[in-house]
Amino acid sequence: MASIELKNVIKRYGTGKTANQVIHGVNAQIKDGEFIVIVGPSGCGKSTLLRMVAGLEEISDGTISIGNRVVNDLEPSERDIAMVFQNYALYPHMSVFDNMAYGLKIAKVPEAEIKTRVDKAAKILELGAYLDRKPKALSGGQRQRVAMGRAIVRQPQVFLFDEPLSNLDAKLRAQTRLEIQKLHRELGITSLFVTHDQVEAMTLAQRMIVMNGGVMEQFGTPEEVYTRPATTFVASFIGSPPMNLLKNAPDAKAGVITGVRPEHLDITPNGWSLAVEAVEMLGAERLIYGRWTHTQGNDGEVVIIRTEESAAVPAIGATLHVTPRPAKIHHFDANTGRRLETV
């Protein structure tokens, strides 16, 4: 187990004129044993960052240290890490046992020791019955666990996960999430977990890094990120349906964006006045889509309101009044998108 430190990490693809910078100076201190999730939209550089830590991608600038050792120039195998890939990257021609044992064999761990370690991992992951099978003969969830097993047996200082759950169906994903949490509790190994799914990020992370366009937008606990998003990007990326980010709220100041989550808008006899555009029934709750009545024409701003299933259903076209809960209003600078603590 070890801490990880990223110091002004930069990644460029290509050189000279054609160089394309995709990571713009990321700084982060990850504590020993922490479970960190990196989340962000597709193409924002999550995998690139993770792969730089793994040693699969060269670091263009800055330094990465694992356990106080700068690893910039070390081969992946020398960094004492293990990685779980999105499509698992299991060796299709090897049995489950051999898949897990491969790294140990190369490291010349004695046969007996290999067997002990693999068996132990297999037990933790309930793979004991499948050790002789080829990956082809396993279900998606089982494959995923083999990939985890392969990482575990190496007893590395750091676990790296690159969207390890995205090939699983919803049910299995939820279940595996719980397993990963349990595993981390038991082994306590520093982990970096990449995902583009905010639910996964929220449920798994001790702290999470929200990335956008190669920039780290926020680094904090899920609680912090949800309740005090640092930028409009974070505000709209985390939470579903997303936070309403309003320029034209009746009481808005110029240059300031008002943010309110749909569940923090209460239907009140008066307040912001909206024309109902659509209503969606989602079982336990309803989403109401409304447009300002006070702005001329169509300004493109839709306000989403989340209500209980039991609440009354407004008619389409009807006018609705809503009031944001005061403590739950956020303000952002319209130009930079950064959170404003005081308005």
């Binding site: 793994a54 699969l56 081969e75 195998s77 890939f85 990257a89 299991l90 060796y91 491969y102 790294g103």
Partner: protein
Amino acid sequence: MEKRVFFRSNWLPWLLLAPQLAVVGIFFFWPAGQALVQSLQQQDAFGTSVTWVGLDNFKALWNDATYLASFQTTVIFSALVTVLGLSIALLLAVFADRVVKGATFYKTILILPYAVAPVVSGLLWAFMFSSSIGVVTYALHKIGFDWNHLLNSNHAMALVVMAAVWKQISYNFLFFLAGLNSIPKALIEAAAIDGARPWRRFWTIQLPLLAPTTFFLLVINMVYAFFDTFAIIDATTQGGPGKATSTLVYRVYFDGFRGMDFGGAAAQSVVLMVIVIALTVVQFRYVEKKVQYA
């Protein structure tokens, strides 16, 4: 694997198949049947006197030590062509897979021999190794090696093997390269994280994963060595010295079209067809299976 939906018609599929079936029937099955009939006959060269001899032609083949030797020659030749062709191509493909700069240039050169006709390939290699004007013969002589494929059956075998392998490398190379490309990069990365060095990765990951490609090429190369090398042999050694480079296919042509032993040649054709059908079944099975994986 089958399509779920299809069109319904009783006559259209037959109409569509007609041209192909006509060609196949007239130019493949009819002659093949003829060969079968002729293998039971003894004819004079001109086909003017025909006698039925039962299995005599086959018995004669069985008793002909040189025919059995041709079997051996064919096996050795095919094995050499296949093994060398595959391993050289694999070596080149593995390294071509590594180079980034100039890859297209190398590839272009390496696939050129594919375009060369076997006869021309034979001609070029015979020219290089010609006893009087061959540059390679000359160079070998300079380093004290006396090349003589007219007399030395090993040299002759080496010559036809070289010419045959040279021509086939391109094809193998292309497929190996494609095979290597289709191995997910993540597997290589996973192995690298597991601590495997390039050499080890090649043997434990890439090579095993190339097995389907390799098997496919193995069959293709064997068929090539069996049949398509006729022109190469004809242009270089004509089966000699002795019968040292006389493969089964060369024998069919030689005994039939040069020796005018039509019954014997037909019997040889039949033997070849049997071999060939066995190979087909193997390949068909395999290819079908592979498709289902995909």
